[in-house]
Amino acid sequence: MGRYIIRRLLQAIPLLFFVSIGMFALIHLLPGGPEAVLFNPHLTAAGRAALRARLGLDDPVPIQYLKWISSALTGNFGFSFVTNEPVITILGRRFPPTLELFASALVLALILAIVIGVVSAVRQGTLTDYALTTISYFGIAMPIFLLGVFAQDIFAVQLHWLPASGTATLGYSFSPVEAFFDHFEHLLLPMLVLAASFIAGWNRYMRSSMIETVKQDYMRTARAKGVGTVSMLFRHALRNAVIPLITVVALDFGAVAGGATITEGVFAWPGMGSLFLDSLDRRDYPVLLAMLMLSAAFVIAFNLIADILYGVMDPRIRYS
């Protein structure tokens, strides 16, 4: 196992290296750079040249890449073109809201997906199963931005139950307790939308692996020695049935660094996803590059974690 992990980590290095070249080239070689968006149109030619030089845009692209990669390797991702803050500071500020949204949606989705999956597996072929299957089918077919827009329109705009966007009500000074509930109200809608998109896919995995598991011999043995239904399902069957789901969840969690771009965009949630969209509008190259690299690293890392988890939870699987 140890050697397997080391080999996979070593494989990740060239992968990330090529991703970095690819992303750098994509961002720098395409038309419509920061000059068109960021620079004051009334700038004189001299001022324009000075600004270009200060942002490091004068060097040939390969030289720019070498400068960028050598400082990135020491952990310095440069400074934002727009705010002049270190990129790391910006990412540090934007990551917690994304993590909050993602983690809460993930926990909620995991619980619900397991319960729904188990129920429809146990009641396989009944009306309950068909109803749950139909609902999750609808969920899979519903693009997340559409679900977000619909939820926002219905629960915020029409019914006024929940706030439509942001993280807090502006212009009020709340006591800490009120502020907490205010924040929670803002979290609820994007969290539910994100969770719904996860549940739709996950409960299918749960259902089919649960159906496989309850057919096993040891389940009959458990029943024969008098284990109650609930204990049998949740203590005996679930432990084995949940393994395929965990790997899928780990893979989905790999998207966390890119943020739930779409959900965050729809609900103006100030996390990594909306940072990405903002930086893109302003052609803030250092921020964009750092985010692309970070999200690629997360995807690769969670691919590895998913494989390791699989081996840990199912000792029959051996990696070499």
Binding site: P14, L15, L16, F18, V19, G22, M23, L26, I27, L30, P31, G32, G33, Y137, F138, I140, A141, M142, P143, F145, L146, V149, F150, Q152, D153, V157, Q158, R204, Y205, S208, A255, G258, T261, I262, G265, F276, L277, L280, D281, R283, L288, M291, L292, S295, A296, V299, I300
Partner: protein, 316 residues
């Protein structure tokens, strides 16, 4: 008795079998061609039929609708009526009008043409790229396979939406053509992996060896002999890819990176409608529900095809 006569009168095993089958009609199963078996299996799946019928109706609605109903100008503003904005359904405007008094029916149909075309053509391009790369990687193996698959890994390790947003921000000119190319350029990876896997298995089969011994060249071997045997999974992947691409187009257009107004697509109709939802919810819900039902139908048809083409494939 002449020997030839004896041969002619002796019942062959086939004849015996046929007469046996006639006596026991319950056991008779008509011989069907492979295509017929697949079609029958597909037709037995009610959900897939509903999806297929919806898609046909929708295509007629979007492409023939403007011509049949005369609602063929999505950008015309009704100037005969001063209060034409946000009008409810009427005989002149069955879906009402939008914020500047354009006929919503005409816009939805024009938007549907764009969304369906983008989904379909970018699927064809992506499948073409994916099948070619996957076939080459799986057929030649070795260093070619390694290089192509590592390249696929690189493209797959960056979240798709981030890549598409970056590229369309600088590269797309807001026309359907540029959106199609962008989506296709990043939609081939799963098809490539799929075809590579199929080819790795297929090239060990006897018929490939047989074809090689009669001197079939590489290109012909890949695309005439092996590819038809891998067509099932490709068709399923292609169907689902259309739905993915329609979603991608609508997300890009929703965030302003896809089809630019005044051009209509379902995605940017939802986007403009969202800002006006407290005035007129239909501007969001009509295009939104059309996206939803289209994607749902494509998934139903895709799953139906999967079951029809490969009865052993277990439900995911």
């Amino acid at each position: 008795m002449d020997i030839s006569e004896r041969i002619n009168t002796t019942p062959t095993r086939e004849d015996e079998l046929d007469s046996f089958l006639e006596l026991t009609p319950a056991l008779v199963q008509k011989r069907r061609s492979q295509g017929r078996i697949i079609l029958d299996r597909f037709l037995r799946n009610k959900a897939a039929i509903v999806g297929a019928v919806f898609l046909i109706v929708l295509t007629i609605f979007c492409f023939l609708g403007p011509w049949l109903t005369g609602h063929n100008n999505p950008n015309a503003i009704d100037v005969t009526n001063a209060a034409a904005s946000f009008a409810g359904p009427s005989l002149a405007h069955p879906f009402g009008t939008d914020d500047v008094g354009r006929d919503e029916l005409a816009r939805v149909m024009a938007g549907g043409q764009v969304s369906l075309l983008v989904g379909l053509t970018s699927m064809l391009m992506a499948i073409f790229i994916g099948v070619t790369l996957g076939a080459i990687a799986g057929y030649y193996g070795g260093i070619v396979d390694n290089l192509l698959m590592r390249f696929t890994d690189v493209v797959l390790s960056v979240p798709l939406y981030l890549l598409l947003f970056v590229l369309s921000a600088s590269f797309s000119d807001g026309t359907p053509r540029s959106v199609i190319i962008l989506i296709a350029v990043f939609g081939w990876m799963y098809a490539a992996r799929l075809v590579r896997g199929e080819f790795l298995a297929l090239k060990e089969r006897e018929f490939v060896l047989a074809a090689r011994t009669i001197g079939v060249r590489d290109f012909r071997m890949m695309f005439r002999h092996m590819l038809p045997n891998a067509i099932g999974p490709i068709v399923v992947n292609a169907t689902l890819l259309v739905s993915t691409n329609i979603i991608l187009e609508s997300v890009l257009s929703y965030f302003g990176f896809g089809i630019k107004p005044p051009g209509a697509s379902w995605g940017n109709l939802v986007s403009t409608g969202q800002g006006l939802v407290d005035v007129d919810p239909k501007l969001v819900f009509i295009p939104g529900l059309l996206i939803f039902f289209t994607v749902l139908s494509l998934n139903l048809v895709g799953d139906g095809l999967r079951d029809a083409l490969d009865p052993y494939m277990t439900e995911r």
